[in-house]
Every structure is written in structure tokens, then in C-alpha cells.
């Protein structure tokens, strides 16, 4: 019994911090409809500033606590609401998730840019001294109660009791409970719902700050990844409460913290359960909640009676360009491609050759996101994982069977497709947020329990690839052979995706994105299409992973971690998730940007600035679902078009423009077409000129 308590009781502080996370997530979701992926980043900010102020700013612990937790944490919550989340309509689930993920990636990187790379260790504990054992529970030697334990438990209990009092017995709490049902109905009753929701964000921010500071002493070195992993534990707890019940979320969180420590104590060290199952226990609990809790399948169903007044998702920006401008753009792209290929094969220095080669490999991985998110309308947070499955399969086959990496890459693609199909089958009844959580859990499982295993990665540095496994001079130091291989793979994958996009499967996916109800109502099988696009996306990611590993000459577990899945989504969403050009621009742009920042001084020299750039780009997803760079491209080509070419080119030929050839009738416009919404430019009528087209994402 003493041993059991010795294992179980130390789990209580962990459970308490999970509970703070979980309650904060539920509070935000209930009051605002936002599942706040940025919660871990908010906690990290408070912990970071708390440690920074105590260690670099020489502030006393209590002052640092007040600044970082009482002031900055709620303020950050309010800022996120004011500038971002309140501007995203409830119907745009994907936009809210993407915005949260962007913040999760961007905020820690922004701290690095602002304060430089800090090695923050030995966080102080609030209230009680961390290294002092104050007493032994039940007088048992095995159950010491130290300062960290007391600080965590006392602060958590006080915070939760305060929250209960606030929600149950105050006017603000009453308004918050009403806003949970319908923010709009509350407004009709004369309540300033915006203020109420802002208050909820501030309280949730306070909880994030508290959790961040309480957790900090548990880590040897403060790292944002730790908070993301812990957030998944909190998500698991919140999911068992269907993101609605704070008591269940808090209770499950505490139990999870205790169970983890008990299992850690009793499981034999070095065994499979200890190495492979224990680290992913929270993810297993999360997956179980997603599969077993019926409420999680319908989590996004609007409960607000006035939900229908939300504006629809903004349409993809479209431009009506003149044929001349179209020709110029197409010619420009081909010319750029020709210059690029010729340069890569002739004069580009080795350093930059590697940059572009890496960009090509990334482009292939990113095309898998184009498939699953751009075409399939599903947000997968496991694309780096699938790339890793492909790469490790090819690496293992080469290492043990001597199989050529190019053949192994195809087998790896098949393996990644199988994993993707399993993931799709597991999450058939989930969509939007549920699917994002399922794929995040899968990514974490592979990152923490599969890739690091010696049977997969062989050594901590992964599998070193040898040139004999591929031949054809791919490992030639000048890198040109790889460039040719990369371009061939990229071209084949790109053409394949374009074909799918143009074909029947592409149209089915477009229909399903528009309305799954109507799509199944005309005979489209949504499950089959989803599994198919997952498989295809997994295969492409697997090919990209192998290509990337060949370029790096190593298959390394770290580069296929779950955190890269998040970064990949953010990068592609910025450049354009719905077009193949967007994925290629993302791949080349990411590596190019990473290379350019190496020339910048100090704190700007790492990847942090790159991540900040893309994360802020992805924050515009709600208003520019086509990608902010894609939006800007269309906008500027449109401006040049209007500046350089006459209106005649738009298909309304005036005298002389037709050169004596009879001119076709003008295409219908918003003014002439019945039922066409005002302010919308209509496309050409059939036969009015094939080039005069309405540019949609899959046509452009």
C-alpha cells in the first residue's frame, strides 16, 4: 500500500496541471465555440516570462508571477479573442482550428525572436520551496509532500473553486452560461456578449498561465514541445467530458496524472509497455474518447438556435483575367521553370543546390496536404508522420534487404497509405476538430513510441543511407542527380494530383466539401472517398518522406515528429492549400526562407523567424482560405491586368478589336443574369470564349 501511494500521490500535481489545462480548454470551447489549440502556447508564454523575469530580470518570484500570470496571461487571452477568434464565424470550424495551430507554432517562435534563444532551467516554485519536503503523507516515507506538490495542489484547488463560484454565483457566470447556449440570444436580451466572451478568454488565459507556471518546475529545461504534449493529455480529459463538462474534464485529468505515475512505477523498465505504451497513454485515452463518446462525433453540430445567421465560408477569391494576362502568366511560369532547371544543372552553388533540392522534397510532402486538406477538406495533423512511415520503410528495406531506395520508396508509399487508411477507418465518423485531434494523437504515438524504437530507427540518429542503395549517382556531391530525380518525382506526383482533381474523384471531393448531406443524397459514398483520399495523401507523403531522406542521406526520427506536421500545415495554408502551385511554393519557399535567415544576425538567424512568418500568414486563413500568398498573387495579377490591358480583352470587344472578325456576343454578367447575386462577376457563357474563364482553385 505504501508503495502504491508512493507511486500514486506524486501523480496528483501532474493531474492538477492537466486539470487546469482541461478546464481552460472546456471553458473556452463552451463560451466561444473555439477549441483553443493555442492553449499550450499561452501556458508556455507565461512560464517563459515567469522564468525569464526571475532569472534575467531579477524580479522576485511573486512579482514575476503577477506579471506573467495575473497580467500577461489574461491579456494574451483577450488579445487572441479581440484580434482573431471573435472575427471567425462559428461555422468556420476549419478556420478556427487552423488559427489555433498557427498560434501554437507561431507564439513560441515569436518569443525566441523577441528574447533570443534562452536556456531556461530550474524554474522556481510559487508559494512553497520546491526542494523542501514539508511532511510525509500518512507518515509514510514513500510519500513525501514537497513544495512543488503543495504549490500545484493548493493553486489548482483555489483556482477551480474560484471558477465554480464565478460560474455558479455571479452575474458574469450567469451570462457566461447563457452565452454557452447562444451568444446571439444573449445579445438580444441586452447582454454585451462580446464582453462576456472576452471575459471567458481572459479567465481561460489565466488558467493557461497558472498551468504553465505550475508545470515549469517539472521540466529540466523549458521547451514548448513539453506543453504541447501535456496539452494532448488535457485534451484527452476534456474529450471524456465531450468538451462540455468541466467537472468530468478535471476529474479525468487528475486520474490520468495519477494513473501515469502508477503505471510508471509498476511497469518493468525497458519493457514494451514501459517504452512504447506508457509514453502514449494519454493519446490512447484520447483516441478512446474520440471513438467511444458519441458526443465527440457531433461536437460541431450547431446548438445555437440562431446559428444560421452566421455568414457562409467566404468563397475562394476569383479573378476574371484577360486572355493576354493569362498567357503572360503561363509563359512566365514556364520561363521561370526553364531558368530554374537550367540554373540548377549549370551554375547554382552547392549550398543553394541543396536548398532547392530540399525544397523539392518538401514540395512532394506538402502536395499530400493539398490532397487531404485542399481537395478532401479534411485537416490532418499527421502528414509528417506518414512521410516518416514511408521513409523508415524504405530505409529498413534497404538496410536489411539491400532493396534499392527507389523501389523501397514505392513500398514505403504503400506502407504510408496503409497507415493512412487505418487512420481514416478509425476516424470515419469524425470530421473537422475530431479528425484533427485523432490525427494529432496518431502523430504523437508515432513520434513518441514508434519512430524512436531501435527496431525502426536503429540508432538515435536514425538510419544512415548509403549510396549503393540507390545508385545512379544520386549521392553525387554536386547534387544534380538528386535534382533530376526530385524533379521527376515532383512532376509525376503533380500531374497525378491534377488528373485526380480534374476527374470524377476530384469532383466528388468538391461536392463533399460543399455539402456532405447533398453529396450522399446524389449517390456519393463519403466514407469511400475519404478513405481513398487518405490513402492517396498517405502515399504521396510517404514518397516525399523517402525523397527527403535520400536528400538528407539519413532517415532521422526527429524530422518526422508531430510538431513538423503542425508546421507543415501552417506553411501550406499560408501559400495556398487548394492548389498544387501553393504546395510547391511552400516547399521551395520554406527552405529558401530558412537559408536566407541564416544570413541574419543573432536571434533572427534560426528557424523561429520562418515559423513566425508562416504562422502569421496562416492566421489569415479565415478570410483567405485560398492562402494569403495565393490571394495576393491573384490580387496583383488582377491589378496589373487592369493597368496594362484594355477592357476589350475581357471578352467585350469594341470596334476594331476583332480585326474585322465577327465578335461573339458579350458574356452574361451579374446585371444580365437572373438570380445572380449582385456584385459577383459571372463567368463567360458557353461558347463565349474558352479563355475567358472564371478562375476557381481547381481550374487555375
Amino acid at each position: 500500500m505504501a508503495n502504491f501511494l508512493g507511486y500514486a500521490v506524486p501523480g496528483i500535481p501532474y493531474g492538477c496541471t492537466y486539470a487546469l489545462f482541461a478546464v481552460g480548454l472546456v471553458l473556452t470551447y463552451q463560451a466561444t465555440g473555439v477549441f483553443n489549440f493555442a492553449f499550450a502556447a499561452q501556458a508556455y508564454v507565461s512560464a517563459y516570462l515567469f522564468m525569464y523575469f526571475t532569472q534575467n530580470g531579477d524580479l522576485p518570484t511573486w512579482a514575476a508571477f503577477i506579471v506573467s500570470v495575473v497580467v500577461i496571461a489574461p491579456l494574451l487571452g483577450w488579445l487572441l479573442d479581440y484580434f482573431l477568434f471573435r472575427r471567425i464565424p462559428n461555422t468556420q470550424v476549419m478556420a478556427k482550428v487552423v488559427t489555433g495551430i498557427s498560434l501554437l507554432v507561431g507564439i513560441p517562435s515569436l518569443l525566441t525572436v523577441a528574447f533570443g534563444s534562452q536556456n531556461l532551467t530550474d524554474a522556481p516554485s510559487i508559494l512553497f520551496s520546491p526542494n523542501v519536503v514539508y511532511f510525509h503523507l500518512f507518515g509514510l516515507e514513500q510519500v513525501p509532500i514537497d513544495g512543488i506538490f503543495l504549490s500545484t495542489v493548493v493553486v489548482t484547488v483555489v483556482a477551480l473553486v474560484a471558477l465554480v463560484i464565478l460560474i455558479r454565483f455571479t452575474s458574469l457566470g450567469l451570462k457566461m452560461r447563457a452565452a454557452v447556449e447562444s451568444r446571439r440570444l444573449v445579445q438580444l436580451d441586452g447582454v454585451n456578449a462580446t464582453k462576456v466572451v472576452g471575459s471567458a478568454w481572459m479567465i481561460a488565459g489565466l488558467f493557461a498561465g497558472l498551468a504553465g507556471v505550475l508545470l515549469a518546475p517539472q521540466f529540466a529545461v523549458l521547451q514548448s514541445q513539453n506543453y504541447i504534449t501535456l496539452m494532448v493529455t488535457a485534451i484527452a480529459a476534456a474529450a471524456w467530458g465531450v468538451l462540455r463538462s468541466m467537472p468530468i474534464a478535471a476529474g479525468v485529468a487528475v486520474v490520468l496524472g495519477i494513473v501515469e505515475l502508477i503505471a510508471q512505477g509498476y511497469l518493468p523498465t525497458g519493457g514494451f509497455l514501459y517504452d512504447a505504451v506508457l509514453p502514449v497513454l494519454p493519446m490512447i485515452v484520447l483516441v478512446a474518447a474520440l471513438l467511444l463518446m458519441p458526443g465527440m462525433r457531433t461536437i460541431e453540430h450547431a446548438r445555437d438556435p440562431l446559428a444560421s445567421v452566421d455568414p457562409p465560408t467566404p468563397p475562394i477569391s476569383s479573378t476574371l483575367r484577360s486572355p493576354t494576362m493569362d498567357r503572360i502568366i503561363k509563359t512566365g511560369w514556364w520561363a521561370l521553370l526553364a531558368v530554374f532547371v537550367i540554373s540548377m544543372l549549370s551554375w547554382v552553388p552547392r549550398t543553394w543546390e541543396n536548398v532547392f533540392n530540399q525544397g523539392i522534397a518538401f514540395s512532394v510532402i506538402f502536395l499530400s496536404i493539398t490532397l487531404i486538406t485542399g481537395m478532401g477538406g479534411q485537416l490532418s495533423l499527421a502528414q509528417a508522420t506518414l512521410a516518416g512511415v514511408g521513409a523508415f520503410t524504405a530505409g529498413q528495406l534497404a538496410l536489411h534487404l539491400g532493396l534499392n531506395l527507389l523501389v523501397g520508396g514505392i513500398v514505403g508509399a504503400a506502407a504510408a497509405a496503409v497507415v493512412a487508411v487505418l487512420l481514416a477507418l478509425l476516424s470515419l465518423r469524425l470530421k473537422g476538430l475530431g479528425l484533427a485531434l485523432m490525427t494529432l494523437a496518431a502523430g504523437l504515438v508515432f513520434t513518441l513510441a514508434v519512430f524512436p524504437r531501435p527496431s525502426v530507427s536503429e540508432t538515435t540518429n536514425g538510419i544512415a543511407l548509403q549510396s549503393k542503395w540507390i545508385g545512379l549517382g544520386i549521392f553525387n556531391p554536386n547534387g544534380r542527380a538528386f535534382f533530376i530525380l526530385g524533379m521527376i518525382v515532383l512532376t509525376v506526383v503533380t500531374l497525378g494530383i491534377i488528373q485526380v482533381r480534374k476527374g470524377t474523384v476530384g469532383s466528388y471531393l468538391t461536392a463533399l466539401r460543399g455539402s456532405e448531406t447533398a453529396a450522399s443524397g446524389i449517390g456519393i459514398n463519403p466514407s469511400r472517398q475519404r478513405v481513398m483520399i487518405f490513402a492517396l495523401s498517405g502515399a504521396v507523403a510517404g514518397i516525399g518522406g523517402t525523397l527527403y531522406s535520400i536528400q538528407q542521406t539519413h532517415v532521422t526520427p526527429n524530422v518526422f515528429g508531430y510538431q513538423f506536421s503542425l508546421v507543415f500545415v501552417v506553411v501550406v495554408v499560408t501559400t495556398g492549400v487548394s492548389t498544387v502551385e501553393g504546395a510547391i511554393q511552400a516547399g521551395i519557399g520554406l527552405t529558401l526562407f530558412e537559408q536566407i535567415v541564416t544570413y541574419l544576425p543573432g536571434r533572427f538567424g534560426g528557424n523561429s523567424l520562418v515559423f513566425v512568418f508562416f504562422a502569421f500568414g496562416a492566421l489569415t486563413y479565415a478570410s483567405h482560405p485560398e492562402g494569403v500568398l495565393e490571394f495576393q498573387r491573384r490580387r496583383w495579377t488582377g491589378r496589373f491586368d487592369r493597368l496594362l490591358f484594355t477592357k476589350d480583352d475581357l471578352g467585350n470587344p469594341s470596334a476594331g478589336s476583332g480585326g474585322g472578325v465577327p465578335t461573339p456576343p458579350a458574356p452574361p454578367t451579374a446585371a444580365t443574369l437572373p438570380g445572380v447575386a449582385p456584385g459577383v462577376v459571372a463567368p463567360a457563357a458557353p461558347g463565349a470564349g474558352a479563355e475567358n474563364r472564371f478562375e476557381l482553385p481547381y481550374h487555375g
Partner: protein, 288 residues
């Protein structure tokens, strides 16, 4: 609301538009080719939402070529019943059969392929598609096409037959002029026609139209009624119509079923049910 395109104006005094040879007639009214039984049989269907009984023990049948109106005040359970028939909801009790097949375990898309076409109370369109693409994708889905390898081998282009059929449907519902317009640029009335065209191209044996006149003006509603009559008369298509516009119901249907609070309270010809005191009570209260 602007006038609809002339192509779908179907004056009652003139011959209705024809769907042509691609829409071969399956049956003649009163001449059921080897299929003497009813097309749709709903038996004792009940559906609960928690403590709310949205549909209670509803039983009715629809014959081939028959046009049946399903009317009732708001909250009567009409759309819930539609959703049960189409598979979007699973009833807790009762059974639904379509051409002799029990629909109980069939998913929505399988029911659609059996020949149930549907339009929706709240317009459900594919926002990234043009009008023509809507109809084309429905035609493909009806046939169960969609092999990935065909797309990869560039064999997914529409055939001449598909194009012809799509154009014919567009002309029937009067959308030829806006065929290449994205639906996001269309008004509500046009979107309802897009839904209708999308349902029609699948050659359904039963068209379930859920408040199709909502958002249409009087003239458009009248034209739509003409199209529905034409489909029934010429194509032999059964129509199950949920509609609040009772004038349209009177114009289109052969038989009317009235629901209130989840139950069928009257059934018969339009005039019969409208004179039923239960129906008057349901619509007008005790004063009625």
C-alpha cells in the same frame, strides 16, 4: 426577384418541355410494368430526439407515378420523416421499403442509387462548383463511377452522352444561361433549381422535394409546379412534396397527407383534407 429564364416557363396551356429520349419513360400512370406494388412504403415510423417525439407511428405509401403532398404546420415532423426516408436519420421504430427493398440498414448514398432523388429545405449546394458541374457530378454519382485509376489515366472526361444529358436537364429546369456560373453567385431561387436539376439527372423513381418553392416568387412557383407535373406525367416519376404553399400543393399533388405534432392526422385528396376539422384545427387552432 427577376424573371426566370424563359426556357423553364411552362405555361399550363401549352405542351410541357420534354426530357427526350435519354430519359426513357419507365411507367405509364396506371400501367405499372411488372411492379404492381407501391413504390415507397412507410410503416409505423417513429423518431425521437431525446424526449421529443418528432415522428410518431407514421404509415403511408406512395405509388409509382403518384404525386403526394406532405403538409402540416411547422414542427409537424415532415422534414424529419424525409430524413428518415433518405437515410440521414435512423428511425427508432418502423420500417421503410422502396421498390420492395427494406431501407433500414442502407446508407443514404445507396438509397439515392436505388432511385430516390431529393431537394432540401435549407439549400444544400456544392459551393465550389458551377451549375453544370453540379448536374454532371450527380450523373456520375448515380452510375457509381469514380475509379481513381480512370482519373489517373485521364479517362474521367465526360462522355458525349453525359454532356447531352446534362444539357437536357439544364434546359428542363431553365439553367442553361447560368450553366457555367458558380452556385455561390446565384440567388436562393436559382439554387433551388440547381438542386432540382441535380436530383433529376439521377433519373429518380421518387423525387422528394422539401419546400421547393421557398424563396421563389409566385410566377416561379407556378413554373416549378408545371415542371413537377411534367416530370410526373411524362417521366412517370413519383413525387413526394413537402410544401407550405398550399396552392402549389393543390396544383401538383394527387393525394395529400397532413401531419401535425409528428402524426398523420388526415389523408385524401386536397379538398378532402382541407375540409377536415382536424386539419383546420392544426392550422388555425380551436378558432378554426
Amino acid at each position: 426577384m427577376v424573371d426566370p429564364p424563359a426556357s423553364w416557363s411552362v405555361p399550363q396551356t401549352t405542351a410541357p418541355p420534354t426530357l427526350g429520349p435519354l430519359f426513357g419513360r419507365r411507367t405509364q400512370p396506371g400501367q405499372l410494368l411488372g411492379d404492381p406494388g407501391p413504390l415507397l412504403v412507410v410503416r409505423g415510423v417513429s423518431k425521437y430526439f431525446g424526449g421529443v417525439q418528432a415522428v410518431r407511428n407514421v404509415t403511408f405509401a406512395v405509388d409509382p407515378c403518384e404525386s403526394v403532398g406532405l403538409v402540416g404546420p411547422n414542427g409537424a415532423g415532415k422534414t424529419t420523416l424525409f430524413n428518415c426516408v433518405c437515410g440521414q436519420l435512423r428511425p427508432e421504430e418502423g420500417s421503410i421499403e422502396f421498390v420492395g427493398t427494406d431501407l433500414g440498414r442502407l446508407p443514404t448514398y445507396r438509397r439515392a442509387r436505388l432511385g430516390i432523388g431529393r431537394t432540401y429545405q435549407r439549400v444544400e449546394v456544392f459551393s465550389d462548383m458551377t451549375v453544370r458541374e453540379h448536374v454532371l457530378v450527380a450523373e456520375r454519382a448515380r452510375k457509381g463511377d469514380g475509379r481513381l485509376w480512370r482519373d489517373l489515366c485521364n479517362l474521367g472526361s465526360p462522355s458525349v452522352e453525359e454532356r447531352t444529358k446534362v444539357e437536357m436537364v439544364l434546359e428542363t429546369v431553365g439553367l442553361t444561361a447560368v450553366a457555367d456560373t458558380p452556385v455561390s453567385a446565384l440567388g436562393l431561387g436559382m439554387c433551388r433549381l440547381v438542386e432540382l436539376g441535380r436530383a433529376l439527372v439521377g433519373e429518380p423513381r421518387l423525387l422528394m422535394a422539401d419546400e421547393p418553392s421557398s424563396g421563389l416568387d409566385e410566377h416561379e412557383t407556378s413554373d416549378l409546379a408545371g415542371v413537377l407535373r411534367m416530370l410526373q406525367a411524362e417521366r412517370g416519376m413519383a413525387v413526394l412534396l413537402v410544401e407550405h404553399d398550399l396552392a402549389m400543393v393543390n396544383e401538383v399533388v394527387d393525394r395529400t397527407i397532413v401531419m401535425d405534432l409528428g402524426q398523420v392526422i388526415a389523408e385524401g385528396t386536397f379538398d378532402q383534407v382541407m375540409s377536415d376539422p382536424h386539419v383546420r384545427h392544426a392550422y388555425l387552432g380551436r378558432a378554426g
